[in-house]
């Protein structure tokens, strides 16, 4: 009973004017709690699409996706939102902090949404741990790329999610910042006992994960 995620015969197709594009083909995948998984593959192979399906941000064309034994393909948009709110943290390649919120406010937002006590205080502690003590009240535009991504990670993990989805989190960063970011992510997962699914082109980073998955033309190989 320590399955976190189960994908059964998941297909994803995109309909364009002329033809249908098969993005994911009969994906079957089971992950356990506390797993760390890296996904690699060529550009356009379907990695992002897979992450989106798991995060409930895209609807599968067919197949079933169970998150903690709940079939999220059968849920409404709001019900999926609620699961994501409590259990899934997402880190994007382009950070996507809310531009007119300060670093602290960006992090506190998730805490508040999950009704944590003292959200500001907890956000500050978290940012402090990530070496952002002097950046609490800065707006994203006043932060470097590495700093922005650390705030974004803090935001994703603040409410202690069971699963973290990271789509090329170091893709926009230099190598020094990349190392720092990956260290933070893996350290946190280990401490809190969460799961991590990380998409990356960096094999060093991929090797840090317990399990490595390769995708080619929409299939796990």
């Amino acid at each position: 009973m320590n399955t976190l995620l189960k994908l059964k015969k998941v297909n994803l197709k995109y309909q364009t004017d002329k033809d249908t594009i098969k993005v994911l083909n009969n994906i079957d995948l089971i992950t356990k709690k506390k797993d760390t998984i890296s996904i690699m593959g060529e550009s356009g192979s379907g990695k992002t699409s897979l992450v989106m399906l798991i995060g409930g941000l895209e609807k599968a064309t067919s197949g079933k996706i169970f998150f903690q034994n709940q079939d999220i393909t059968a849920l409404s948009e709001d019900e999926v939102s609620e699961i994501r709110r409590k259990h899934i943290g997402i880190v994007f390649q382009s950070f996507y902090l809310i531009p007119n919120y300060t670093a602290v406010e960006n992090v506190a937002l998730t805490l508040e949404l999950n009704k944590f006590k003292n959200p500001q205080q907890q956000a500050k502690e978290l940012l402090d741990r990530f070496g952002l003590k002097n950046r609490f009240n800065n707006l994203p535009s006043q932060l470097s790329g590495g700093e922005q991504q650390r705030v974004a990670i803090a935001r994703a993990i603040a409410m202690k999610p069971d699963l973290i989805l990271a789509d090329e989190p170091t893709g926009n960063l230099d190598s020094k910042n990349s190392v720092m970011i990956s260290n933070i992510l893996f350290k946190y997962v280990k401490e809190e006992g969460s799961s991590l699914i990380i998409v990356t082109h960096d094999s060093k980073l991929a090797n840090k994960a317990k399990r490595k998955i390769k995708i080619k033309d929409g299939k796990i190989v």
Partner: protein, 845 residues
């Protein structure tokens, strides 16, 4: 999703709504501004209306002059009954009449037509007569041949205190000046008046027949008496007296109330128009604001916010804004009350004070809320289109207005509530409804116009003229501000032009009667015995005078075909005035020149002993009267039956002598009567008032020009006020347009940059904006003129029943000035996008 609105969730939403609002208010400044202006106008109108009505209600007794008024109109009335009332109340008698007063200097004597009120010591029962010097009011009671005149008489005749003036053939001493009287409603509001003691009637030896005396008895109840019981008692006393009319404080100043109601309804409609135009801009600004927040919305969704939560955050922001704005608008509207007070207290003698009313505030808030919700539903619903998955793909689609069946239904529902809010309780609900219909028709037409122009330009074969090409591209692009510009400008311009046309037509109609048809003077109160003297005097002054002298008698319609007409003809009947009180009628051998017969025959000369009546055709239509119907008239207390023998088309507008009823002369000549005359002199200076008054002291002379100047003066003021207020709609429209330009700014900046790189000169870019403007503006003006012509024609011909005329000059001047202002504004707002700095933009792209 019933758990959505748990209190803690609401807290969260409120908190983030506040944060977002504080950080972003600059981006939605145009929303704040337009909403404030339109709510402020509405607040001002409602506040002033409320304050005025409160003043009228508070002073109802003073305005009426007592707790009750016994009005006998032109007869002294049944004194026995009046004395019965006197047993348990206090009564103040007064008689009003119009006459001439003139100065008594060595030379250059002037005269003035004046309403004189003779009062007893008890006057006024309520309120005070403000006058100078102190004690002058007692002098008119204690000293015969003394009089108080109003400020205007004092100024016009350049009088001094204790100067002697002539009232008819008697000399009176002016002992003081009246600043204001409490019972304004009794006087002709804009006329000149004077107060004199109760003996004055005897001193002047006034003849009841000739002087249009008006008898009133104001009644004050004893303190502590039950108002309703006393009223009932008085009603019972007069129950069989058909001549009397009892009036109560609640119907005092009813004419004034009606004017206030109509005017405030009219202004409210203008203000709601301004607000609806603002709404168009609000929808546009809000959409661009949400587009700018596209990413933040996607992030919130990715974090687990529900779409509804996010939408609620936006609605909350609007609600918070509205709360502050409506409080500010309502609060500040109180500052306008003192201004209105100085304007009104001069004319009406009313002193208004600001009056806070929670109902008014709620109404203002509700109107703002409805407008906001109606226009933000399709915008805020666009949030549903934002997908969190965009964050993975780094693309953000442009949001469009989103209309679901449900949101259209809700919008329409709210719109109906808004319209009902203005229609119900307005003085003339049907007009309001009609106005809204016309407004939305205009809106739709302007919207279609914008679509049509875009369609036309798209299908236009490509020209080689570069600026033209660029402007066509600008107008037809998807994010074009063309539709919103056309709609907001179109509605504002239409409203302004319509009102301008109504105003000029109205003014012209009033003014045009002066030179051509209208006589120079009206003469009232020519006794039968004085008729020849009068005619000789006039002819001795000017042999070529156009003089019209007609006999008149006063009569009231007691019955129509044996039935009391007041029992079935409603007060709102257009012709109610004919039966309302005694009217003056005349007779004539020939059919009057400008009164053609529409039905029936002129007098039957074989029946000289029978009263035959010629009736105004419109009155006949309004009362549903046929040839052969019988009127029972009361003439000097005698009841006489007369048969309707023909209908005449009467045009009262030309200010010559017109009567609703004419009688056959063979019959009418036997009734005691006096004469009324009009005169148009070859040269008005040939007429010497003082000479005429020396010969016929009891004659009343009304100079038409004076009267019309007064009316035109008032009309001018009203006209200016209306134009000023309707300019607000244009201002709002311009704010909407400039905010749309700013919203579109980034696109423009980029576009201009591309032009620059392509080697365009600044001149060509400016030229293309001008072409763009001209295309938009001329199509708007064209349609607006069309609507203004139709709208003003309807108002002038059907509501005011006057003659409408096209006025190119007004349209041209207004169109030109609006065009210039719009052009300058568009150029100014565009200016900052004209000079894009090339490098930073390229780096960002």
């Amino acid at each position: 999703m019933e758990k959505l609105f748990k209190v803690s969730e609401l807290n969260l939403i409120l908190k983030y709504a506040l944060i977002d609002l504080v950080r972003n208010y600059r981006k939605i400044f145009s929303i704040i501004l337009t909403l404030f202006i339109s709510l402020f106008i509405l607040s001002a109108i409602l506040t002033i209306e409320n304050s005025l009505k409160k003043e009228l209600n508070d002073n109802a007794k003073a305005l009426l002059g007592g707790d009750l008024e016994i009005d006998y109109h032109s007869v002294e009335g049944n004194l026995e009954l009046v004395n019965k009332v006197k047993e348990f109340t206090t009564i103040s008698n007064m008689v009003e009449f119009s006459t001439m007063i003139s100065t008594t200097r060595e030379d250059n004597n002037q005269s003035l037509f004046t309403r004189i009120k003779t009062v007893d010591e008890k006057y006024p029962l309520y309120g005070t007569v403000v006058h100078e010097p102190e004690g002058a009011i007692n002098q008119i009671h204690n000293e015969p041949y003394t009089i108080l005149v109003n400020e205007n008489i004092f100024k016009t005749l350049s009088l001094t205190i204790n100067e002697e003036i002539k009232v008819q053939n008697q000399i009176f001493k002016v002992v003081g000046v009246i600043k204001s009287v409490p019972d304004v409603s009794g006087f002709i509001v804009f006329g000149d008046f004077a107060l004199a003691g109760k003996e004055t009637l005897d001193l002047l030896k006034l003849n009841t027949l000739g002087s249009f005396l008006h008898y009133e008895y104001k009644v004050k109840f004893n303190e502590g008496d039950n108002t309703n019981a006393i009223r009932k008692r008085i009603q019972d006393i007069f129950i069989n007296d058909t001549k009397v009319r009892l009036r109560y404080p609640e119907n005092s100043a009813s004419g004034l109330r009606r004017v206030i109601d109509n005017f405030s309804q009219f202004l409210s409609l203008i203000s709601i128009s301004a607000m609806l135009i603002a709404g168009i801009g609000i929808a546009n600004t809000l959409l661009s604001f949400i587009n700018q927040s596209n990413m933040s919305i996607a992030v919130k969704k990715a974090l687990g916010f529900f779409s509804l939560n996010i939408k609620t955050i936006y609605y909350c922001q609007l609600l918070i804004l509205l709360t502050f704005i409506s409080i500010a608008a309502y609060g500040l509207s109180f500052l306008l009350v003192p201004m209105a007070d100085t304007y009104l207290s001069k004319g009406l003698g009313l002193n208004i004070k600001p009056l806070f009313s929670i109902f008014t505030f709620i109404k203002i808030f509700l109107v703002g809320l409805l407008v906001l919700v109606i226009f933000s539903i399709p915008t805020i619903n666009a949030i549903d289109q934002v997908k969190a998955s965009n964050l993975f793909r780094n693309v953000f689609q442009n949001l469009q207005f989103y209309y679901s069946k449900k949101s259209i239904f809700v919008s329409l529902l709210f719109l109906s509530v808004l319209i009902l809010l203005f229609v119900i309780g307005s003085a003339r609900p049907l007009y309001s409804l009609f106005y809204f219909g016309a407004f939305f028709l205009c809106l739709i037409v302007f919207f279609l116009l914008s679509k049509f122009i875009i369609f036309l330009l798209k299908s236009l074969k490509s020209t080689s003229n570069i600026p033209l090409k660029v402007s066509i591209k600008n107008i037809t692009q998807t994010k074009s501000i063309m539709p919103i510009t056309i709609m907001s400008l179109g509605l504002g311009v239409t409203l302004l032009l319509t009102l301008a046309l109504v105003g000029t037509n109205f003014k012209r109609e009033v003014a045009k009667s002066i030179p051509e048809i209208a006589p120079d003077y009206f003469f009232i109160g020519i006794q039968s015995t004085d008729r020849d003297t009068f005619e000789e005097t006039i002819l001795s002054m000017d042999n070529n005078v156009r003089l019209e002298i007609v006999p008149i008698i006063s009569s009231g319609i007691v019955k129509i075909n044996g039935v009391d007409p007041k029992s079935y003809i409603k007060r709102d009947n257009d012709s109610y005035w004919v039966i309302g009180s005694d009217r003056r009628s005349s007779w004539s051998d020939e059919v009057p020149e400008d009164n053609p017969i529409t039905e029936g025959k002129w007098w039957d000369l074989d029946q000289p002993n029978k009263l035959q009546i010629s009736l105004d055709a419109k009155v006949a239509k309004d009362f549903n009267i046929k040839i052969g119907d019988i009127f029972t008239l009361s003439i000097y207390g005698r009841k006489i039956e007369g048969e309707i023998v023909n209908f005449r088309e009467v045009d009262y507008r030309d200010l010559s002598i017109n009567f609703a009823m004419l009688f056959n002369p063979q019959f009418a000549n036997t009734i005691p009567h006096e004469y009324l005359a009009t005169a148009k002199f070859e040269n008005p200076t040939k007429f010497k008032e003082t000479v005429m008054l020396d010969n016929l002291p009891s004659l009343s002379i009304i100079k038409i020009a004076d009267y019309l100047t007064k009316v035109t003066d008032i009309l001018n003021k009203v006209f200016i006020a209306i134009i000023l207020i309707s300019t607000i709609t244009i201002i709002i429209g311009l704010i909407v347009i400039s905010s749309a330009i700013i919203v579109q700014g980034k696109v423009k900046e980029f576009q201009n940059l591309v032009f620059k790189i392509l080697g365009f000169s600044k001149k060509e870019i400016v030229l293309s904006s001008i072409i763009e403007f001209i295309l938009i503006f001329f199509s708007v003006i064209l349609i607006a003129v069309l609507f203004a012509v139709i709208g003003s024609y309807y108002v002038i011909e059907h509501i005011f029943e006057l003659i409408w005329q096209f006025d190119l000059k007004v349209l041209f001047n207004l169109g030109l000035s609006i065009g210039l202002v719009t052009l300058v504004l568009i150029m100014l707002t565009n200016l900052k996008y004209l000079n894009p700095k090339v490098y930073p933009l390229i780096r960002n792209q």
